[in-house]
Amino acid sequence: MDENERVQNARKEMEQLVADSLKSYKPPVGAFFTNLKEATKAIADGSIRWARKNSLWPMQFGLACCAMELMDFGSSRIDAERKGYLLFRGTPRQCDVMIVAGWVTKSVVPEIKRLYEQMSKPRYVIAYGECAVSGGPWWESYNIIQGIDQVLPVDVYVAGCPPKPENLFEALMKLQEKVGGKVEDKQE
């Protein structure tokens, strides 16, 4: 009887150990052929992110002096098309990125909100220039909003007055990292 009990206890312990170890086992993320459903999901996600980050279409929203540098950014000397940021589009439905360039007054805020809500998800915002970051040299005026991030959620800030167009290039490359998944991206 003692031997049977001992054997049964040992068997129960073995089964429990096996069940415990199976619970804490997770298949590694990058490994293929563990689970077909997860593998296709990873491939599809990665390729969609690759396609999105290499074809960000900006929406023109030049309000003031920083719009001069945006025009320079799109023209032939500092070419924006070679990295995929095509010609600035007029309608917000086709665009991914909204580059806010220039000082924002209280009269313009309803228009900005309406345009932002018309863009289709996922959508990003870049604040270009000192006036969009924090109000700029006009921070004491009676008609100015101190920075666009009091109204919209901003992803990348570019400082300068006005920043050179090469700075906008670097800002768009950082945004590409965010779209590609290296930095955590909260979209509803």
């Binding site: 009269s107 008609n143 101190q146």
Partner: protein, 123 residues
């Protein structure tokens, strides 16, 4: 720079005389706020012989200015801006706001008694 200081009732007469003498181009209408009275200045110019003249008048709080739109059509935008920035009322035509259109609560920002920067807050 010839300076003429006149009273409010002679304004339209003086301007008609000046137009007959050849001063037919209005450059600007502006105002300065000395604290007990306001001074309104009209800059006019003769295009043929390039001479300029200023016409000045004093106004206290609550008085009204006559409109000069029938003499110079350029006075349209200038009078609208003057009335909303300084709080001067203009009689003779309906004057709408120009630069501060959506903010009905903002009254006469260019007066010295308007405390600017009072709206500034950042957390």
């Amino acid at each position: 720079m010839v300076k003429l200081k006149i009273s409010k009732n002679e304004l339209i007469e003086k301007l008609n005389e000046a137009v007959k003498e050849g001063y037919n181009y209005l450059v600007k209408i502006t105002a300065v706020d000395y604290i007990d009275h306001l001074e309104v200045i009209y800059f006019i110019r003769n295009i043929e012989n390039k001479k300029e003249e200023n016409i000045r008048l004093d106004i206290k709080d609550g008085e009204r200015l006559p409109t000069i739109v029938n003499i110079f059509k350029a006075a349209d935008f200038y009078e609208r801006e003057l009335s909303e920035m300084f709080g001067i009322e203009i009689e003779g035509r309906k004057v709408e706001r120009l630069l501060l259109e959506k903010w009905d609560g903002l009254e006469a920002p260019l007066r010295k008694k308007f405390e600017w920067g009072a709206d500034y807050k950042r957390d």
